[in-house]
């Protein structure tokens, strides 16, 4: 059944979009990520304009992180203070990201920027996660796994503006936290991703936030950055398609429930290994776009319409 999208101005197969939302929802429920990094490329692949695909991720990710946040909130697994510090950086990053997005769209380089950023970002993060989890899986019986050495400080621990986060059990400077959140907010607005798959490892590996707090806190901050992204994108480029978002949300919400159940039975290292490989596959898919000669070298975009 076809449905006409009012902002993308094209008809799409309703069940195809619902199915895509569901499949990505399944994966996102399984890994506790937003899934934007899979959904945006899929939408572009079925012919939705890149601008609409990216901008419409906002409400879709907001809906799925709302469900997730509520579940973690009931379990008291959110450090609100940490989330709000991250949010401050995230909002600034999102605003800058949307401005950059609009600028690139005017210059006609948006597709290239999206593709290249996917290659670099996904390639790096995917390789890191795969490498780390493969190593962990291989020497899971090794008792000499590196532990935090008491008394040794990392470089950012000397920074001012130190804050104490009770639930997360941290005492660190707010500067690196805001910085990381800003970078992720920027990437999120440009690429149509929530950034959970970067924020979660960053909080665990760099800031040593306990694993039971990290996912809820990350979901909570993503919820608000995505609301901001939706409003910023709507206000500046009018590319948020309500109908497309609704289809994705409904599909995603159902998929996530089944994914969460499937994810509960997975072991930690294999779980991360699979996530790492999944991210790498997306990076390779985009890399082939940039590094192989295109079948059609030309593209034509309508830039103005006289109605």
């Amino acid at each position: 059944m076809e449905i006409y999208l009012p902002i993308a101005e094209m008809p799409v197969d309703m069940f195809l979009i619902l199915g895509m939302g569901m499949a990505v929802g399944f994966i996102s429920g399984m890994f506790g990520i937003g899934g934007g990094f899979l959904l945006t490329p899929l939408l572009i692949f079925v012919g939705i304009p890149a601008a609409v695909a990216v901008a419409t991720q906002g409400p879709q990710i907001a809906a799925s992180s709302m469900t997730g946040s509520l579940a973690y909130w009931r379990r008291r697994a959110i450090d609100f203070k940490l989330a709000f510090v991250l949010l401050a950086g995230g909002l600034v990053g999102t605003l800058l990201g949307v401005l950059f997005f609009n600028k690139m769209q005017r210059l006609g380089q948006l597709d290239t920027v999206i593709t290249l950023s996917y290659v670099v970002l996904m390639g790096t993060v995917g390789a890191l996660i795969t490498w780390e989890s493969a190593k962990a899986a291989l020497r899971k019986n090794d008792k000499n796994a590196p532990k935090r050495i008491a008394g040794r400080h990392r470089w950012f621990e000397g920074l001012p503006l130190k804050m104490r986060f009770h639930r997360a059990g941290m005492y660190v400077s707010a500067i690196p936290l805001v910085g990381v959140a800003m970078l992720i907010g920027f990437a999120g607005a440009v690429l149509g991703i929530g950034g959970g798959f970067i924020l979660v490892p960053a909080l665990i590996y760099i800031f040593r936030v306990p694993a039971n707090i990290v996912v809820g806190t990350s979901l909570f901050q993503i919820l608000f950055t995505m609301i901001a992204a939706t409003i910023f994108h709507s206000a500046t480029n009018q590319s948020v398609d309500l109908f497309l978002a609704l289809l994705l949300m409904v599909g995603g919400v159902f998929g996530a429930q089944f994914g969460a159940r499937a994810g509960a039975n997975l072991r930690g290292e294999y779980f991360r290994l699979m996530l790492g490989l999944l991210i790498l596959i997306v990076a390779v898919r985009f890399a082939t776009d940039v590094f192989t000669p295109p079948r059609e070298a030309f593209s034509a975009t309508q830039t103005e319409t006289g109605r």
Binding site: M1, E2, I3, Y4, P6, I7, E9, M10, P11, G58, P59, Q60, A62, A63, S64, S65, M66, T67, L70, A71, R74, R75, G108, Q109, D111, T112, L116, M226, I227, T230, I231, F232, S234, A235, T236, Q238, V240, L242, F243, A245, M249, V253, A256, Q257, V290, F291, T292, P293, P294, E296, A297, F298, S299, A300, T301, Q302, T303, T305, G306, R307
Partner: protein
């Protein structure tokens, strides 16, 4: 639809009786609709065009009449980009900008255009896809045939520039019917339909019709809201997202 057909039949009768002391050839034509609404299940539409040729005092051509119908969508600016190799990568490095390009072109006729009239005649009359793309006076290098051809090729692949040489059917030697097919991704706006009558390879007469393609109530309302009050639209969309997220957590709650 029935009212329209009745009106059309009436028009036909009118021309038959009223044109007794006729002079020049003329065409009377009508479209099955003058407004194509885009509903949520829109996947394209076929518009029918009916027409009657009024031969006037002229003799009927020995090969019969030829009809060429040009459907032209709203004009706008188009940027054509070319990917070029840059180190190891292929990036959009070269671009040309075109103005006054129709967003939709469909040319339908009763037989191939090259058998209806010679190329020079068609070019003079602006009949054919290439002839409808005006030469670019301002833009640098836009008349480069590589880019011009690429634009036409891409629009043809998208089904936005089409030619159909069997879509006009003569019901009698002077009454014809044509199908105008609009694809699902048809651009919105005002459309011009030009009906050209050829007799022995030369233009005998032409006439124009118009129709509109516009979004229907809900789609139009959503698109308008997104443009008229964008911040409110974004806020409302976010609110719906939160509501759906909350509903899901209520429905699927397990703890």
């Amino acid at each position: 639809m029935i009212a329209r057909l009745a009106a059309f039949a009436f028009a036909c009768l009118l021309t038959m009786f009223a044109s007794a002391p006729a002079q020049a050839q003329s065409i009377v034509a009508t479209l099955s609709t003058d407004n194509v609404p885009i509903l949520s299940n829109f996947t394209g539409e076929r518009i029918a065009l009916f027409g009657v040729i009024e031969p006037g005092n002229n003799l009927r051509p020995k090969d019969g009449y030829d009809i060429v119908i040009t459907v032209r969508g709203p004009r706008g600016a188009v940027t054509v980009r070319r990917k070029e190799q840059w180190g190891l990568m292929w990036l959009n490095l070269d671009a040309r900008r075109y103005i006054a390009i129709p967003a939709f072109i469909s040319i339908v006729s009763n037989r191939p255009l090259n058998r209806i009239a010679q190329a020079e005649v068609r070019d003079d009359l602006r009949i054919g896809v290439d002839a409808l793309i005006p030469p670019q006076a301002v833009s640098r290098g836009a008349n480069d045939p590589v880019f011009r051809d690429a634009m036409q090729r891409i629009r043809r692949q998208q089904g936005l520039f089409t030619e159909g040489d069997n879509k006009v059917r003569f019901i009698t030697p002077t009454v014809f019917r044509a199908n105008i097919d609009l694809p699902g991704a048809v651009p919105l706006g005002a459309y011009d339909v030009e009906i050209a009558l050829f007799s022995d390879g030369a233009l005998a007469t032409r006439t124009n019709l118009k129709f509109n393609v516009s979004k229907d109530a809900v789609e139009q309302w959503v698109a308008e809201a997104a443009h008229r009050s964008p911040i409110l639209y974004g806020a409302a969309t976010s609110l719906i997202a939160l509501l759906i997220g909350w509903l899901a957590s209520v429905i699927f709650r397990r703890d």
